[in-house]
């Protein structure tokens, strides 16, 4: 094993070590020990990733197997790494955001009794995510995929005494099973037809796969594979209609909302599709499917952000919408733009979530924006960093979000695959919506009238925040909030330092990396696009440097829409708060539709959950009670009883019966095999 290979191993194993120490020996190492060991683990992983990055920049990529676990029917199951520019970019993003979140957690969870458990989980998550992105084969990808899903489940239900949290994690788990079903089908098809699980080998066989059809159906095989894989991505990256779990996942503590449900895990689907670009490029139908799903998510989930009052839910819907943007980019073969947006989004969305978390700390765990306002005076660092994050999100020129989002919009404009027109409308309208809900949140939280300390009925816990983190109080947010006359205060440094550190890349990274990542050689040989989808190349012709793009960007439609979104938000929520109320009254049906999230949850509840319950009841009554209980269970219990009786009969303790059984055995063997031979 070379030095570099050892380093590759060190990167995921360091957080795993931290997770094990904090998880299994949490009582022994204590709170301080737990956060020190996990932070050191993740910091090691980050530093290691930086070295790997430099090595990759120097032209050293790696694709190899470190350990072969099993071989079966010509397919090997192995642990291996594929280290190239895409991997190393993901490694940097994951370890950096994870490190920030680890630091932030010290402040956010300081009074929680599950402190060590939390650190163990987030380190375990970092390990799983790194295994996912570093994998060179589908088996390990699937392992990482499920492992991050598991940790996400554990963390959404972190406060397991809250019924809502348990409901939310169950929902996330079930919805992801639907996605995984498709994902497994895709992997299964690959294993069956390519007879290998290794990426490089599958890609080498991709043209051959493209010529095949699924037996007995006539469907193009490659399309079936890609759609299967993409359904997996829809579950993990929360695309319509499998998005329903993400808003509810906000029941988890805020740091994981930033790490898992904004910056890293939910982008695993985007990463996976970009990684699979050699396959997706071969199926126009799959790309169109991806495009339409992504566009729908981008616009319609944005609408929902407008009507939310819970600060975290606004950010959650914004995440959904941004994931939609990334998916759209995948659909138009602008994989590098998708990954670029993934990266910038990871920074500014983590920033926004952590900012929201800081606000929540300041508000003593009151998350309702209607109880906030004017916080800029009390929380200056949170205010400034959140403003930067919001500007990045709406795509203000020169900030990172501008570069990535504008590239996507232009790529959609240049694409000609079916659905591109619809997608263009969605992404362009989405810009206005994004700007509107982002600044609605910003104004409601940081400006305007100070509304805190009034609407809170329960002031028993108000004067000290000890109640949060106390399981007996069930973490019900209604228990919290500021007491009358009490002022919010800025969060401690462990909270604000990560905000500042995340604000820096949120502002700058787009400007410095757009050229190499989108139009340079950074992803050369990693991301493929066929000649029939030359979107990125065409985009490259129009690109004249980051400064030029930003200046030009100020004259284009997206910028105008974004600014008008901000202006409308200012008008509605700062100047004339009567307008939104009036609109709400006039367009009651639409508002109700949005309030109910397009009735997706209702539909699922009635159709799927209800259907499942009906089916379950039917199976229970007919299948279980009569067939299984009546015949199978009681029957097999009886059967087992009979067999037990029989064995008891034979197992009588009498030697002669034992000997008799042996003789019978010989007799049977003899007669049987003599007749055969």
């Amino acid at each position: 094993m070379t030095e570099m290979q050892k380093l590759y191993l060190l990167v995921p194993l360091a957080p795993l070590f931290g997770a094990i120490v904090a998880g299994l020996f949490g009582k022994i190492v204590g709170r301080r020990g737990a956060h020190i060991v996990t932070i050191l683990g993740v910091a090691t992983a980050f530093v290691g990733s930086v070295f790997v990055f430099q090595d990759v920049q120097a032209g050293n990529t790696f694709n190899g197997t470190l350990y072969t676990w099993a071989t079966s029917g010509g397919i090997t199951f192995e642990v291996g790494f594929l280290i190239d520019s895409l991997t190393v970019m993901m490694m940097l993003v994951v370890t950096f955001v994870s490190l920030m979140v680890h630091l932030y957690t010290i402040g956010y969870m300081s009074e929680d009794p599950g402190y060590q458990r939390f650190f163990s989980y987030i380190s375990l998550f970092t390990f799983s995510m790194l295994m996912l992105v570093m994998s060179n084969n589908f088996l390990q990808l699937f392992f990482g995929w499920e492992a991050v899903g598991l940790v996400s489940y554990l963390l959404i239900g972190f406060w397991y005494t809250r019924p809502t949290a348990i409901f939310a994690n169950m929902k996330a788990f079930l919805v992801n099973r639907v996605g995984d079903f498709g994902f497994l089908l895709g992997i299964g098809l690959i294993a069956a037809f390519a007879n290998t699980l290794n990426y490089a080998e599958v890609f080498a066989k991709a043209p051959a796969l493209a010529a095949m059809t699924v037996p007995e159906t006539g469907w193009p095989l490659i399309t079936a594979i890609c759609i299967g894989l993409f359904i997996g991505a829809m579950g993990k990256s929360a695309q319509v209609p499998l998005h329903v779990w993400l808003p509810d996942s906000m029941e988890g503590p805020t740091p994981i909302s930033a790490l898992i449900h904004a910056a890293t895990m939910v982008t695993a689907g985007i990463f996976m599709v970009a990684r699979m670009s050699p396959l997706f490029e071969l199926s126009e139908a799959a790309l169109s499917f991806v495009l339409v799903i992504g566009a729908t998510t981008a616009l319609f989930m944005g609408f929902l952000g407008i009507v939310q009052n819970d600060i975290k839910r606004v950010v959650a819907y914004s995440t959904l919408s941004q994931l939609g943007y990334m998916t759209v980019a995948l659909g138009v073969s602008a994989y590098s733009a998708a990954v670029f947006h993934l990266m910038t989004h990871a920074f500014f969305k983590a920033l926004l979530f952590l900012g929201a978390g800081s606000v929540i700390i300041g508000m003593h765990h009151d998350q309702d924006m209607r109880n906030m306002g004017g916080l800029w005076k009390y929380m200056p660092i949170t205010w400034i960093t959140s403003l930067l994050g919001s500007l990045a999100l709406i795509g203000f020129p020169f900030l990172s979000g501008f570069y990535s989002k504008d590239s996507i919009i232009e790529a959609v404009q240049l694409s000609h695959i079916p659905g591109a027109g619809y997608a263009y409308f969605c992404v362009i309208a989405g810009v206005f919506v994004t700007a509107f809900y982002s600044f609605r949140m910003y104004f409601l939280v940081f400006h305007g009238e100070e509304r805190f300390g009034k609407a809170v009925e329960h002031d028993a816990h108000g004067d000290h925040s000890a109640a949060h983190g106390d399981d007996e109080h069930g973490h019900d947010e209604h228990h919290h909030g500021l007491a009358p006359g009490q002022k919010p205060h800025e969060s401690p440094w462990v909270v604000t330092v990560p905000l500042v550190l995340l604000a820096i890349p949120s502002v700058l990274i787009g400007f410095f990396t757009i050229e190499p990542m989108l139009f340079g050689d950074f992803f050369k040989g990693v991301i493929h696009f066929s000649d029939s989808h030359p979107v990125m190349a065409e985009l490259g012709h129009e690109f004249h440097g980051a400064v030029g793009m930003a200046i030009h960007g100020m004259t284009t439609l997206p910028f105008i829409l974004a600014m008008s979104g901000v202006a409308v938000a200012w008008l509605f929520y700062m100047k004339m708060p009567a307008i939104p109320a009036a609109i709400m009254k006039t367009f009651k049906p639409i508002h109700t539709l949005l309030e109910n999230k397009y009735y997706f949850d209702k539909f699922n509840e009635i159709f799927f959950a209800g259907g499942a319950r009906l089916l379950g009841r039917g199976l229970w009554k007919v299948g279980d009670q009569t067939l299984i209980d009546g015949m199978a269970v009681n029957g097999s219990a009886k059967l087992v009883g009979v067999i037990a009786q029989l064995t008891r009969l034979f197992q009588s303790g009498h030697i002669y019966q034992y000997a008799f059984s042996m003789i019978v055995g010989v007799f049977v063997l003899l007669t049987f095999w003599f007749n055969r031979a």
């Binding site: 099993a70 197992q651 010989v666 063997l669 095999w673």
Partner: protein, 488 residues
């Protein structure tokens, strides 16, 4: 007839064990209170034998004693595993037999001779050596079962074991004489050649084969030659049960390989279908009957029956319609299965021994109730063992089942694989019931667990090895592959 001095080198380990057995016997006879010394001498014997075996391991197939004896890689690895498991057995049983006043020099002597018997069985290339080894092992075990003389149950078990064992020996001898009649030789490699060249009298060969398989099936404890297992496992002191359940299975596997593969490979078609019959019955009966057992020793006995059935699956899928190129994989998966079974059995009975104390034998499900509250560490270890036995990934038991099933599928018996999986599903019930009882029930017994530190450490290592080798099975698999590659 001229006498040639045989080459003792390939049998150096056996000779060492014989020599040491005299040392142990002498010290035991002439020194008072020498039990501790006997224990350490026995452990030293095993260690020394291991050193000698490793030292004489040369990767060649060497025959000696006028071709009655063979030394090859498979034999060496099986022997090493035998030393290891016997050493672990002794380590686990020390305080148990001390508490019950059955620790004596004789006890250790019998263990040494049983070990020697196993070594001879594994290294036999001749019906006589094979039979000699088998009898040495069996007689030592009969005596060991009866070692607790004041226990009626143990005496009864020993009696049954002895009578049935004698019957099985008779069957085996009868089969051997038939084969001798058909081929004119007692030497396994000559028999193989004889069948290959002249074919021999089919009827007599088949007769012989059936009886030999029956004798073998008794030793492995597969249905319908399994009847002794539940009674003996339950009746014998747990320390002896542990010995019977573990190392002799390795020897029986060695014997099966020698007899069936070295000697009767030409008849593979026939014995494979016989073994398949036995395997199917064992897997079914073992798993179903285990459900009804509240006694853990009995349950593990039935579980062992099903495990041996599973192991046989590896042996039945070696030759497909005369095509032999599956054989290596299939046999090495069976060898892997035996290795993993022995590891798991050691740990499972080890936990029972940990929980036993003077005047109290832990052997029912009741005794495991709430173990998690008494010692979450041992409960965790037992859970690992149970998960592994049930074949849950990523423990060694999973990989063992997986590789055997791969061999079965590769040889085309898909229905057999499906059947085996269904049965292990049923089997999972009683393994998981143990886990449930340990973690979710209230303890019936709150006395502290007092066991020597060495045993705690050894048991933990044993259980952790089950987990670790499940993740890194390639290493053990390599040993099995090499053994098969070099020996056949």
């Amino acid at each position: 007839m001229n006498f040639v001095i045989p080459d003792f080198y390939p049998a150096a380990a056996e000779l060492f064990v014989v020599a040491m057995s005299f040392v142990v016997l002498m010290t035991g006879t002439f020194l008072q209170n020498s039990r501790s010394l006997s224990y350490y001498l026995t452990q030293f014997t095993l260690l020394g034998a291991a050193v000698v075996t490793v030292y004489t391991m040369d990767g060649q197939v060497t025959l000696t004693f006028t071709n009655m004896y063979v030394d090859d890689l498979m034999g060496d690895f099986l022997k090493l595993m035998v030393y290891l498991s016997v050493a672990v057995v002794l380590l686990y049983s020390r305080s148990y037999i001390g508490d019950r006043r059955i620790e004596s020099t004789e006890y250790y002597m019998l263990v040494i001779y049983a070990t020697l018997g196993m070594m001879v069985m594994i290294a036999a290339n001749h019906f006589l050596t094979l039979y000699l080894g088998l009898e040495l092992l069996s007689l030592s075990l009969y005596a060991l079962v009866a070692t607790q003389r004041d226990s009626a149950r143990a005496t009864e078990a020993a009696m049954k074991y002895f009578v049935l064992g004698a019957l099985a020996s008779g069957l085996l001898l009868y089969g051997m004489s038939m084969l001798y009649g058909a081929t004119g030789s007692l030497e396994l490699s000559r028999i193989a050649q004889a069948i290959y060249h002249q074919g021999g009298d089919k009827t007599v060969l088949m007769f012989g084969l059936v009886f030999v398989v029956a004798g073998l099936a008794f030793k492995l404890g597969v249905v319908p030659f399994h009847m002794w297992i539940p009674d003996v496992y339950q009746g014998a002191p747990t320390s002896v049960t542990l010995l019977i359940a573990s190392a002799p299975k390795l020897a029986a596997f060695g014997m099966a390989m020698r007899l069936l593969v070295n000697g009767l490979f030409e008849l593979a078609d026939q014995w494979q279908s016989m073994l398949m019959f036995l395997a199917v019955l064992s897997i079914a009966l073992g798993n179903i009957a285990a459900i009804a057992q509240p006694n853990l020793k009995r349950m593990l006995g039935y579980s062992g029956i099903s495990h041996m059935g599973f192991m046989l699956l590896g042996l039945v899928s070696g030759v497909v319609e005369g095509d032999r190129h599956f054989a290596l994989n299939a046999y090495s998966s069976a060898m892997f299965y035996v290795f993993s079974y022995v590891l798991m059995t050691l740990a499972a009975f080890g936990v029972l021994l940990v929980l036993s104390r003077a005047g109290f034998d832990a052997e029912t499900l009741e005794d495991l109730k709430g173990l998690n509250k008494r010692s979450s560490w041992f409960a965790g270890m037992m859970a690992i063992v149970m998960f592994s036995m049930a074949g849950i990934p990523f423990f060694i038991g999973f990989y063992a089942k997986f590789s055997v099933l791969l061999a079965v599928v590769a040889s085309g018996y898909k229905w057999l694989a499906v059947f085996a999986v269904m049965m292990s599903l049923i089997g999972a019930f009683y393994y998981l019931r143990v886990v449930k009882v340990m973690f979710f029930d209230e303890p019936q017994d709150s006395s502290p667990i007092a066991t020597p530190a060495t045993m705690r450490v050894a048991l933990s290592l044993n259980a952790l090895a089950i987990a670790a080798l499940g993740l890194l099975p390639g290493w053990v698999m390599w040993i099995c592959d090499q053994s098969m590659l070099q020996s056949f």
